[in-house]
């Protein structure tokens, strides 16, 4: 490295491009001699800061949340040092009050993930198989237009549909199915509808990219061998798209468990989700942070475990089918 810089003929500053001047400058030379002289040092220069970043900012908050969940009081009061305690985890298992929102959230998220999968699969299949290659991006982009407006704006748009004077009630009255507005808002139905509306595209994109990769010749070969449409789907297309199914379902499930604005805007007292329960511990002025932290840990571990078990099952299924 240094030999090349040394043999370069001295040039007037105007002749040498900017980066050349940087590379030839004395300060940079010293820096590069010190940092890049061995592969080991190069690696340290490359890796040190990003590893520090992920440890401190990606992992740090979760570790601190876990720590706080095991303290008897937090934020600490002036004179008393917080003590180790597992009482906040005990609260969850003792008080039935918190079981209902917890299980509601899990059941909600699981069912909604399956419903979304069933609703979106044909759409992804149509895009990947029936639309001409050149038009596929166009058809996909069309569906992405509402996606970028964000959670709150799309929720608002949906409130205009589900409200008492909303489009759905208007349509029902127009058809004559009802003469009074049906209160859709503030029910389980509204919350589910909104979560599906917000997460459907997270299912569509992985499914589409998995289905798009399957060569059409596979299904044709199966057809030549005498497989009917259902068999072709069940034995060829579905197994090959399982990657998309697992990543789409994981995404939708994790988003659905953590969504906060939707149950607040669309739900009522009978639809409290665990996200609202957790948030409650941080709104009140009182010192309930450790309880909130413990509940967050319970939810995080449960959600990630379910997602991992699900992914493992899909893996097993793939191996099974391949045999």
């Amino acid at each position: 490295m240094t030999s090349t810089t040394d043999t370069t003929p001295p040039a007037r500053p105007g002749d040498v491009p900017f980066w050349g001047r940087v590379a030839n400058s004395r300060g940079y030379g010293r820096f590069s001699d010190a940092m890049l002289s061995s592969p080991r040092r190069q690696f340290v220069l490359l890796a040190a800061f990003p590893i520090l970043w992920i440890t401190l900012t990606h992992l740090g908050p979760l570790v601190q949340m876990f720590r706080v969940s095991l303290l008897d009081a937090y934020p600490p009061t002036r004179d008393i040092a917080p003590q180790f305690s597992t009482e906040h985890y005990a609260i969850f298992f003792q008080d039935r009050l918190f079981f209902a929102p917890f299980f509601r959230t899990l059941v909600f998220s699981t069912t909604l993930t399956l419903i979304t999968l069933i609703l979106v699969y044909p759409v992804a299949y149509f895009l990947a198989r029936h639309v001409k290659r050149d038009n596929q991006i166009l058809f996909l982009l069309l569906l992405l237009i509402p996606f970028w407006a964000g959670e709150i704006i799309r929720s608002y748009a949906l409130m205009l549909v589900l409200g008492n004077n909303g489009a759905l009630n208007m349509a029902l009255r127009f058809v004559g199915l009802t003469d009074r507005p049906i209160p859709f808002m503030y029910t389980n139905f509204a919350v589910s509808f909104a979560i599906i509306y917000l997460t459907a595209l997270y299912m569509l994109l992985p499914l589409y990219s998995a289905l798009e990769k399957i060569p059409p010749s596979y299904a044709e070969a199966a057809a030549d061998l005498g497989a009917g449409p259902l068999t072709r789907f069940w034995r060829v297309t579905l197994p090959l798209s399982l990657d998309g199914v697992s990543s789409g379902c994981t995404l939708v499930f994790l988003i659905a468990t953590g969504v906060y604005a939707v149950p607040v805007l669309f739900g009522g007292p009978s639809t409290t989700t665990f996200a609202e329960t957790i948030a409650g511990f941080f709104h009140v002025a009182g010192d309930r942070w450790p309880t909130g932290a413990a509940f967050s840990m319970i939810m995080l571990v449960t959600a990630l475990t379910i997602a991992m078990v699900f992914n493992r099952l899909i893996r097993l299924l793939q191996k099974e089918k391949r045999r």
Partner: protein
């Protein structure tokens, strides 16, 4: 494929498109309705609500606040995401699996838990809720997406490019700045736009990490809880149009880039 399933499939697609578009179409229509009452039928049209929304200082300052947060957090996410992608491009080093897992961690933590853990964490480092906290929360959340997008582009880069540069006397840093970065540019622009939109749209982190000054989604949320107003229609429609155009542009250029 029989013609009948083909028809059923296309019905599924167009039905889905209708399902996605019906609510936002309603919202856009209501923003032009000349009445304080939101709902059908629409008898008269007006563009006044747009004037009201723009003249409303609350919306303007919330939008400005959201933009500052989005741009700052995107800069951080872009630098760290790219850096991590370059690190992860090394095929084998001790602990690579752990680094990869930690890089992707913020993408799999459910929204409310991510927000709560940041709220607790900024207390530890003695940072008050406010702009810096929101920027930090958004940046961390966006790093995995940047790392994924940039990493995918990095995977398609021929090794010979940087080797040639180093043969010609560039050291690894100069080779990175002059060869790798220009190659990554389309991916970085795309990732930056996605990161901007994710941050601008984010509600749950801004809600728990913010102080009294709201970002635009937080302001809209609090307005929605107290009741609807035609101004919300107008402001939402403007945000919808701008974000859709930006998102479409980025998505299209990214997909073209990946195709070849």
């Amino acid at each position: 494929m029989t013609p009948r399933t083909r028809v059923l499939m296309s019905i599924a697609y167009w039905g889905f498109a209708l399902y996605l578009f019906l609510p936002i179409t309603m919202m856009v229509m209501m923003s032009f309705k000349d009445s304080k009452f939101i709902g059908f039928p629409i008898r008269a049209w007006t563009t006044d609500w747009y004037g009201h929304a723009i003249a409303n200082g609350e919306f303007v300052s919330a939008t400005a606040y959201s933009l500052i947060v989005a741009v700052s957090s995107t800069v951080i996410a872009l630098v760290m995401g790219t850096w991590l992608a370059v690190l992860l491009a090394r095929k084998s080093f001790w602990g690579r699996g752990a680094v990869f897992a930690l890089t992707m961690l913020p993408a799999v933590v459910p929204g409310i838990i991510s927000a709560i853990s940041f709220r607790i964490y900024i207390r530890l480092v003695d940072l008050d809720p406010g702009m810096i906290a929101i920027i930090f929360g958004h940046a961390v959340h966006n790093v995995p997406f940047v790392a994924l997008v940039v990493g995918a582009r990095l995977g398609t880069m021929p090794r010979s490019h940087t080797e040639a540069a180093q043969d010609l006397g560039a050291d690894p840093i100069i080779a990175f700045v002059r060869i790798t970065l220009p190659y990554l540019r389309p991916a970085m622009i795309g990732a930056a736009v996605f990161s901007l939109l994710l941050s601008f749209d984010d509600f749950v982190r801004s809600f728990f990490l913010g102080s009294y000054e709201p970002t635009l989604p937080v302001l809209l949320f609090s307005k929605l809880r107290s009741g609807m107003s035609p101004e919300i229609n107008a402001i939402s429609t403007m945000v919808l149009i701008v974000t859709a155009l930006l998102g479409l542009w980025a998505e299209r250029s990214m997909r073209r880039m990946n195709k070849g």
